[in-house]
Structure formats: structure tokens, C-alpha cells
């Protein structure tokens, strides 16, 4: 959890994924502005020239483009069509545990395997995780059944495959969730599968 989860781009210069933690502050690699939590849930921004501004978190978030506006100018960043990529720590569910209260069965929960670091890439029709060691995995949008944020992670569930959780040490989990949902929505429209009305607990179209 970090200010960069809320502010996926610098609200002063617009650089995406530019905020990096430096002690008490998170600093923009583009313009050098620094951000930290102020009173309550306000955020203090100190520009490179020393000017200080304080706004509520929601006001700072409003300075970033909405996801639809962002999508309208989204272009592939690499020749093979990557729309966005980030370093992630991925964990795949490897089994289930039973939760009980005394003898009463409450439910099953997923049990995650060891973390694997690598790069998560978003394409127009799929997600691809390339670990630093081992084989890459892909999830096409046609097999993804749910997209679910959880704390500062993004969980993705695909048909007949275990749920996978991605943590973003250098990027915004919130923005990844919004962007992934928007790109899946666009894919569904383009392939005539209808308008998605919910992503959890499963993708449902109108």
C-alpha cells in the first residue's frame, strides 16, 4: 500500500508509474515532486521548486485522467502489442484449506504457493506473466472469469485454472485492476460478447 496505488501517475507532471518511495516521501521520477500523507487522508505535494500543495486524496485522484479517457489514447508500447507491463510478485493458489469454528464448517479458502517475481504484461486479448526463472504463463480474456482487487493485489481467476494474485512493487494495483477491466470490456465489445456489467464474483454480460 502506497500513495502510488492511488495516484498511478504524477498529478503534477502526468508521468505514469513515476512515484517511488524515498524515506517518508514518494517522489516522481519525472518532475522530482514529492508526496506524503498529510493530516487525515490528505496528501501533501512538494514540487521541485519547493511549492507545497495539500489536497484530499480524492481531489488528487480527480486530477488524473479517467480510465475511459486513458483508454481512448492507449497504444501498444512494444512491437508485439504490450499495452502496459510491470514488475510483479505472483502467487498461484496451490490448494485449499478448510476453515471451521469448532465442529462447524464455515468454508474453504485458497492456499497460495511461494511467490515468484517477474513481469506482467497486458495485451489487447490476454495477460502474460514471465517469471525471472521458469516458463511464462498466459491468461486469455476469453478464459478469464473474474478480476478482483484484494488489499494491494490484483487477483485473476480463469476457467479451470487456480486463482493467481499479483502484487505490484513499483506500480499501482488499483490502476492495473481498472485498466485490465477496461481492456477486457473492450475485447468483449469487439468480439460481440456484449457489455460487461460485473467482474466479481464472475464476469457477467448484459
Amino acid at each position: 500500500m502506497a500513495i502510488r496505488d492511488l495516484l498511478w501517475a504524477c498529478p503534477l507532471c502526468g508521468l505514469e508509474g513515476g512515484l517511488r518511495r524515498t524515506g517518508r516521501w514518494e517522489a516522481c521520477r519525472g518532475c522530482g515532486a514529492r508526496f506524503r500523507r498529510g493530516r487525515g487522508a490528505s496528501i501533501i505535494a512538494q514540487a521541485a521548486d519547493g511549492t507545497t500543495r495539500i489536497h484530499a486524496a480524492a481531489e488528487w485522484a480527480d486530477r488524473l485522467p479517467g480510465i475511459e479517457e486513458y483508454m481512448s489514447r492507449l497504444e501498444p508500447r512494444t512491437p508485439d502489442g504490450v499495452l502496459r507491463q510491470s514488475r510483479v510478485r505472483a502467487r498461484v493458489a496451490v490448494g485449499e484449506s478448510v476453515i471451521r469454528l469448532g465442529s462447524t464448517y464455515l468454508n474453504r479458502i485458497e492456499r497460495f504457493g511461494p511467490p515468484r517475481d517477474g513481469v506482467l504484461a497486458l495485451y489487447g486479448d490476454r495477460l502474460r506473466f514471465a517469471p525471472d526463472a521458469g516458463e511464462a504463463e498466459e491468461w486469455t480474456f476469453d478464459e478469464i472469469t473474474a478480476v478482483q482487487p484484494s488489499s494491494s493485489t490484483l487477483q485473476v481467476k480463469a476457467r479451470r485454472r487456480p486463482v493467481v494474485s499479483f502484487r505490484f512493487p513499483e506500480d499501482s494495483a488499483r490502476f492495473w485492476e481498472e485498466l485490465l477491466c477496461a481492456v477486457i470490456r473492450r475485447h468483449y465489445r469487439a468480439t460481440g460478447r456484449g457489455e460487461i456489467i460485473e467482474f466479481q464474483p464472475r464476469i457477467v454480460t448484459r
Binding site: 496505488d5 487522508a41 469454528l101 464455515l106 468454508n107 479458502i109 472469469t145 488489499s151
Partner: protein
């Protein structure tokens, strides 16, 4: 239940060291019988504080990952939380909630499904509204204000501030057994539910 009441006493006793807590509308909580407590979700503090001040012990639906560590897998059920897997239709979580209601006990859910990133009220998760229509018990809307300022989702630290919890007057929703009926009633029920929560935000 013993641990639940002990935790309630600890939170109520120690919270004044952390911040101010204003509680309104306790008279709106039914003294007996089942009800659904439906709240907004601003912070990790919400379930702790709502359960601490509510005189009835609430069975609260919580995301399954909160039960991941052995300590929490033991502790959470004793604080009357039960897990829900949010990335698939979790029939067992719904069954358990309905069973508790049938036994005459209250069940708590967070209608937005996750904490707000920017402090604003988010749209309701339709699964939560479906549960309301399936249960057909009174709904006590709960509005928590100030918890975001105390501990927003994007920060690690708790800050001293005033948090206000308002228990609204119970709202009735029809019990709709047929899925088609529930789906038809969904938009209006969602609007009523969110209006009831929003009413206490000012």
C-alpha cells in the same frame, strides 16, 4: 462468543487512546431476531469498530485471504467472521449467511465489497444486493464516516481522528425466492440500499 465479547471490551476500552468515536442510532438495532447489517467500507477499521459498538454479536462476511495465516484462521471465526471467496460464486458463504439468519442471528456485509481507494462511496456489489433479496430480513444500514481519514487504504499508519458510526432505521426488502424476480428487483434494491447508507453521510 467469549472471545468476541472480550475483543469488544478491549476495542471499546482502548479506542479512546486512539481517537474519538461517535455512535448514533443504536436504538435502531433490533433487540431480537435476524437482520442484515449492511455497511459502507472506508477502512480496515470498519469491521473492528462496528462490531465493537453493536450490542448484538454480528456474523461478518470477510474476504478469504484474511484467513490465510494460521493465527487468523483460528482467530477470525472466533470473532464470528466467515470467509467468502470473491473471485467465484461462493455458494457456501451465502448458505452460511442464510443459515445464521434462519437461526435468528444478525449477519454483517460490506456492500461495496472492498475498501474505497479515495474515500468515496463505491457502487454496490450486486452479489450483496442479491443476498439482501434472498434473505428477506430487515436491513440495518450502517454508515461509517472518518475511518478513511484515520487509516486510508493507501497508507500503513493509523492516525488520530473522529469516526462516526450511524446505525440507520431498518429497511424492509421483499424475500424473493425466484432468481428471475431477484434479478428484476436488483437495480431498485441497490439504489434503495445505497440511499439508506448515503443518508447518514452528511
Amino acid at each position: 462468543m467469549t472471545l468476541y465479547r472480550f475483543a469488544q471490551a478491549i476495542v471499546k476500552g482502548l479506542w479512546p487512546l486512539v481517537g474519538r468515536l461517535e455512535v448514533r442510532g443504536l436504538e435502531n438495532i433490533p433487540e431480537t431476531g435476524p437482520f442484515l447489517l449492511v455497511a459502507n467500507h472506508q477502512s480496515i477499521l470498519d469491521p473492528i469498530l462496528i462490531q465493537a459498538v453493536c450490542p448484538r454479536a454480528i456474523h461478518t462476511m470477510a474476504k478469504s485471504t484474511q484467513f490465510a495465516s494460521p493465527v487468523f484462521a483460528w482467530l477470525m471465526p472466533r470473532l464470528l467472521s466467515f470467509p467468502v471467496r470473491r473471485f467465484e460464486i461462493d455458494a457456501q458463504a451465502v448458505r452460511y449467511a442464510l443459515r445464521k439468519l434462519q437461526e435468528g442471528e444478525p449477519v454483517g456485509i460490506y456492500v461495496e465489497g472492498e475498501r474505497s481507494w479515495d474515500g468515496r462511496l463505491q457502487p454496490p456489489r450486486l452479489g450483496a444486493v442479491r443476498l439482501v433479496l434472498k434473505a428477506g430480513v430487515p436491513v440495518v444500514p450502517v454508515t461509517i464516516v472518518g475511518a478513511y481519514e484515520a487509516w486510508p487504504r493507501w497508507h500503513r499508519a493509523l492516525r488520530r481522528t473522529t469516526i462516526r458510526i450511524t446505525f440507520g432505521k431498518p429497511v424492509s426488502f421483499p424475500k424473493l425466492d425466484r432468481r428471475a424476480e431477484r434479478e428484476t428487483a436488483l437495480p431498485e434494491a441497490a439504489d434503495r440500499l445505497m440511499a439508506a447508507i448515503t443518508a447518514a453521510m452528511e
